[in-house]
């Protein structure tokens, strides 16, 4: 399945755009997504940390993704 991944902050610089498509097997998880992204974009591993948000909620690695999910990479936040 094809997951569209939104990017913000430094993740946008790392991906070279505000969203990218990632190909994942059916029943793929946010953990699988992170592995795939880190292998294509090794700079992700140099961040202090990053989270994956699914449908506007922080998601755990075990969370199973579907093509209908809104998925975003959340680098360390720094609002306020």
């Amino acid at each position: 399945m094809k997951i569209n991944v939104l990017a913000f902050g430094i993740a946008k610089d790392i991906f070279g755009g505000s969203s990218i498509n990632v190909e994942l097997p059916e029943q793929g998880t946010t953990g699988n997504l992170k592995q795939s992204l880190e292998s294509s974009y090794p700079l992700l591993k140099q961040l202090a940390s990053y989270m994956v948000a699914v449908n506007n909620e922080y998601a755990q690695d075990e969370n199973i993704l579907s093509e209908r999910d809104e998925v975003a990479i959340i680098p360390p936040v720094s609002g306020g």
């Binding site: 961040l47 202090a48 506007n56 936040v77 720094s78």
Partner: protein, 139 residues
């Protein structure tokens, strides 16, 4: 739960924020106003740029508001955050809390800004004379 939570690319209006939280049942209002500082670790800052993942940021701010109303007796809570380019002295964030008693107002206001800085998906880029950096991105 009486809240006003907004993310906007327009300059924030401090007076109208304070007017909104005032109420005859309140004895005290605490207001936190973030301002763009001219330096960070002794390095001159030219301007800041704020970016938000807006639907999720609003959802997280609402989650914080729910926690506040569960923890303290609060009349009204306002959170306004600005995005886009901000010059030194401009205001990225205003948090205002009105309560019958001042202790709750101080504690709730501080809880909101501390938690917002940890969980709300908003990012700040500092622009210097000789470069720029996404704040907190790297260890």
């Amino acid at each position: 739960m009486n809240t006003q939570i907004e993310i906007s690319d327009k300059p924030l209006d401090i007076q109208s924020c304070i007017d909104w939280v005032m109420s005859p049942q309140s004895g005290g209002i605490d207001v936190f106003i973030g301002t763009v500082r001219d330096a960070t670790k002794d390095k001159a800052v030219i301007r800041l740029e704020f970016e938000a993942y807006k639907p999720m940021a609003l959802k997280e701010m609402n989650r914080i508001a729910k926690q506040v109303f569960a923890k303290w007796t609060v009349q009204k809570l306002l959170i306004h955050h600005r995005t886009g380019v901000l010059q030194v002295g401009e205001v990225p964030v205003i948090i205002a809390v009105s309560c019958a008693h001042r202790d709750a107002a101080f504690e709730a206001c501080r809880y909101v800004i501390d938690t917002l800085k940890q969980t709300v998906p908003i990012w700040k880029k500092e622009i210097f004379e000789d470069g720029e950096v996404w704040v907190a991105a790297h260890p």
